[in-house]
């Protein structure tokens, strides 16, 4: 393939998957700006790979792999910050006017808040299954886990969300 063909294919890949990858990131890190950063870095790394002549059979899977690693890095970074940032309301700015915020407080933002409570692996499985619409088989392949493990994670994620509602959101 000539280099301009490589470029063309790459840009087509970007056009095809940028939204999906971005969306996946949003639901994994609950932060739009971060999600944008991660998406961009992911495509940069993809380019670095294809421009060096490496063959990629499955672009989407490859992107997910990159993105997952980036997200893990992000989680590690956050661990150093207050783990309970969301729970004890650190940094909650009294000055903001809630009336302006209300338009953005729709279901999707609520889901983001809830997703934050899930352990990373459950969350990944849940997002890939129900946001990205991947089958358990595909997820298993992309994450190098067995289908059973993925299935279990998805079910546990949903169970946890359900439990939160039942237990009035309090720690046992």
């Amino acid at each position: 393939m000539k280099s301009d063909e490589v470029e063309k294919e790459f840009l087509a890949t970007y056009g095809q998957f940028s939204d999906a990858i971005f969306r996946h990131c949003v639901f994994r890190v609950s932060d739009r700006e971060k999600a944008k950063d991660i998406t961009q870095v992911a495509f940069i790394r993809l380019w670095d790979t294809v421009s060096q002549g490496k063959e990629i059979d499955n672009m989407r899977a490859f992107l997910y792999r990159i993105v997952n690693n980036l997200i893990i890095d992000e989680y590690r970074k956050r661990k150093d910050e207050s783990l309970d940032r969301m729970r004890d309301e650190e940094g909650f700015d009294v000055g903001f006017d809630p009336r302006n915020e209300i338009e953005t407080r729709d279901d999707y933002e609520r889901s983001l808040l809830l997703l934050e409570t899930l352990p990373a692996h459950y969350r990944q499985a849940l997002v890939m299954r129900h946001i990205d619409g991947l089958s358990v088989k595909e997820i298993a392949r992309m994450t190098d886990e067995s289908e059973n493990v993925i299935s279990v994670r998805i079910h546990r994620a949903i169970a946890k969300l359900t439990m939160l509602a039942k237990n009035h959101g309090q720690y046992q």
Partner: protein, 331 residues
């Protein structure tokens, strides 16, 4: 199924890169590509479409695929009131606490229109923070970190209420200033009693039945109570943090009462109509502080009018019979 599709479309629509964002990212990529061009003479095979055979759930065709269950549906089902409702009783440290503040309280804030209503709501927010502090104070397994957070939140929200009052003052809205100030002062007073009661009782959050029996015995020995105030603090709770909170509350209450008085004087507003008052119920999950606190009431000095003293004394008589009490209500 249409409903699912609509929800799905809605969710998908909300979460994607805007045209500008996409273009900006593309530009950044192009710059990177220019700086790192393809190595010459290299053969690459790119499979960007079809090879993966993974259908995008967001393509039109797949909306007819009934197998995909969007998370919005799941969360929506969970959310149909129940999570928001469940969040209402949480405190800092609980998982759903952020939902309580960022979702529930936001929703309620949104329907507030007038500055007066906003101020009244801000005072109610202070009440919510007070309840959280009390709940944590009466729970023997509360983490000190959560208690710290609750205290900080309380401070922040009291500040906000104070600012509302000051704003009214600046804008010469005498009546609103006085009203809000009195609501705040009443609230703080009521909850100070609860916390004092908690410190007297030194009990953990067990059943109300056992609490009731112990408070009954306290009620009969009036002199005994005063002496025990300094010693009977909840042993599980850090003495320091409890003292801090009580101190904060006392000071804030004094401050608020002082301010209220000044405002009344400044704007020459007579005592407000009772039906304007929001009634604050000083209850906690443990219901510990209520009856014992009343015994202690006469020890707390107010420089307030006589009618306050009377109404509290009356209430205290009522409670010795074992009824629950509403604090802060003027008769």
């Amino acid at each position: 199924m249409d409903n699912i599709n609509k929800q799905f479309k809605k969710g998908a629509k909300d979460v994607c890169l805007s045209v500008e964002e996409k273009a900006a990212m593309k530009h950044a990529l192009l710059r990177h590509m220019e700086a790192n061009p393809v190595r010459n003479g290299v053969l690459t095979r790119l499979h960007s479409r079809g090879a993966n055979g993974i259908p995008s759930p967001f393509s039109v065709n797949n909306l007819r695929n009934k197998k995909t269950m969007p998370i919005f549906l799941i969360v929506g089902l969970l959310m149909s009131g129940s999570v928001s409702f469940a969040a209402e009783n949480t405190v800092p440290g609980d998982i759903l606490f952020p939902v309580k503040v960022h979702v529930n309280e936001n929703v309620r804030s949104a329907i507030v229109v007038t500055p007066k209503a906003q101020a009244a709501w801000d005072v109610q927010l202070v009440e919510r923070r007070l309840q959280e502090v009390e709940k944590l104070a009466s729970h023997d397994k509360a983490s000190p970190k959560a208690q710290e957070a609750a205290k900080r939140n309380l401070e922040r929200y009291m500040e906000r209420a104070k600012r509302d009052i000051e704003k009214f003052e600046d804008e010469d809205e005498g009546e609103h200033a006085v009203l809000t100030a009195s609501q705040l002062a009443d609230l703080l007073r009521a909850h100070e009693y609860v916390l004092v009661g908690l410190s007297l009782q030194g009990a953990t959050a067990t059943s109300t039945a056992s609490v009731a029996t112990s408070t009954m015995s306290v009620a009969t020995t009036t002199t005994g109570v005063v002496a025990s105030t300094t010693t009977a603090i909840n042993p599980q709770m850090s003495k320091e943090s409890f003292k801090d909170i009580l101190k904060l509350l006392k000071e804030s209450r004094k401050d608020a009462e002082k301010h209220h008085k000044e405002l009344k004087h400044k704007f020459k507003v007579e005592d407000e109509d009772d039906d304007e008052h929001v009634t604050f119920t000083a209850t906690t999950t443990a219901s510990v502080g209520t009856t014992t606190a009343l015994i202690f009431v006469p020890q707390i000095k107010h420089d307030d009018e006589d009618d306050n003293e009377e109404s509290y004394r009356e209430d205290s008589r009522k409670s010795e019979k074992g009824t629950s009490r509403k604090a802060g209500k003027r008769d």
